[in-house]
Symmetry: C2
């Protein structure tokens, strides 16, 4: 049974890049300039380049960098979406990634993309997206939500230094539910992922202590979820 016996499906990459701005969970979308689905908003992605890309994660990183100018602090494989009809060009297999970055404004302008911008997760529901990108975003959100309940993953939506209040806001935006500041502080302590810097930051009331991610640490997972 040789390789050539089979017609291979199209293989592509899609990225669901999340961030949180001001308590609002956002996903980065790009407006397609080319067919198919030209003029529609879509997830930044594309074809793997077998010469340049060491592997699929490298391809995902390159596509993100290329189409949005952003380099995520966290990138993880989500799931493969596949089928005969998801791409008008033929049988398609797309590997979706989900990624996290600190919020920054974006402005991209390359050939395949006319615009790139952040969209609130709630606003996206009303949009018409290319391919099955709605479903991909839903699945990515589910996964992120779940991981936010038992891990420190949401820190990747913040700059390297941050306050407990900021992290609390990010987590609440992700899981869509309030948590106890006390519980979060216990986790920050227990995780041993952060150092307490000398600085303090104004916040409208008492100044907040500033935490910093220790370099090279793994994200801690806890044995229990926040109340779900």
């Amino acid at each position: 049974m040789m390789t050539e016996d089979f017609k291979q499906p199209l293989f592509t990459i899609d990225n669901v890049l999340f961030s949180v701005e001001n308590g609002d969970l956002k996903v980065l979308l790009v407006k397609r300039a080319l067919a198919p689905f030209d003029g529609n908003w879509s997830l930044p992605g594309g074809f793997i380049d077998v010469v340049i890309d060491q592997n699929v994660q490298a391809a995902a990183m390159r596509k993100l960098q290329q189409k949005t100018g952003l380099v995520p602090g966290y990138l993880e494989q989500l799931e493969v979406f596949s089928g005969k009809d998801r791409d008008p060009r033929g049988y398609s297999v797309s590997l979706a990634f989900f990624a996290l970055v600190p919020y920054t404004t974006v402005s991209s302008n390359i050939a395949t993309v006319s615009q790139a911008s952040w969209w609130s997760i709630s606003a996206i529901e009303q949009l018409t997206l290319a391919y099955d990108h709605h479903q991909i975003i839903v699945r990515a959100h589910q996964r992120l939500k779940q991981k936010a309940l038992y891990s420190m993953l949401p820190v990747f939506c913040l700059p390297e230094v941050f306050t407990v209040g900021q992290l609390k806001q990010v987590i609440e935006a992700i899981i869509g539910k309030a948590i106890q500041r006390k519980s979060l502080m216990r986790r920050i302590e227990a995780s041993n992922m952060f150092t307490l810097t000398e600085q303090k930051i104004a916040s409208g009331g008492r100044q907040a202590q500033v935490y910093q991610l220790k370099p090279g640490v793994d994200i801690t997972h806890f044995d229990r979820n926040f109340a779900s």
Copy 2:
């Protein structure tokens, strides 16, 4: 930017099929009859057939059925493994699945496979496997272990009716650590996934109550892990 601008990678499927026999976690391997890696043990997998297979899960199911005769009760996407050098035929992208079945003896005899048999997870370490299948098995085992700590997934390694003792043995084989029978019974109760049948089964001592998976239920996830 057209499809044809890019040389596409090879896309394949690999299955890590787990079961538990007598307290021993096993993975199903097949002996390759054809190049590359002919004569080596490997994970059952192959190319997707864009005519037959509705999507990648269907392809995984078909490959398993074809190469081992088994139809798993649970099948989930694991992760994509990719790179220039993992397949001598060229740049390769393989989507690995992990699957669970009740233990049964296998004996397959088709063209591409000369043998199919169960291997203890510990015995596999000493084997030489095709491709990067060692790494895939390690990752699949990690994921299964993790899920066994907080979900009822391991029931798919048992027949439709089973006893608490059997489930306990399966879970312990997967996570490599003893758990309290009491804790498991509390979970069985709380999950509401099972009905208690009239039957009892001999087991060397007092007869055990027989549980049965309710048809069509989702696997329950708990908010806490077993001690890890």
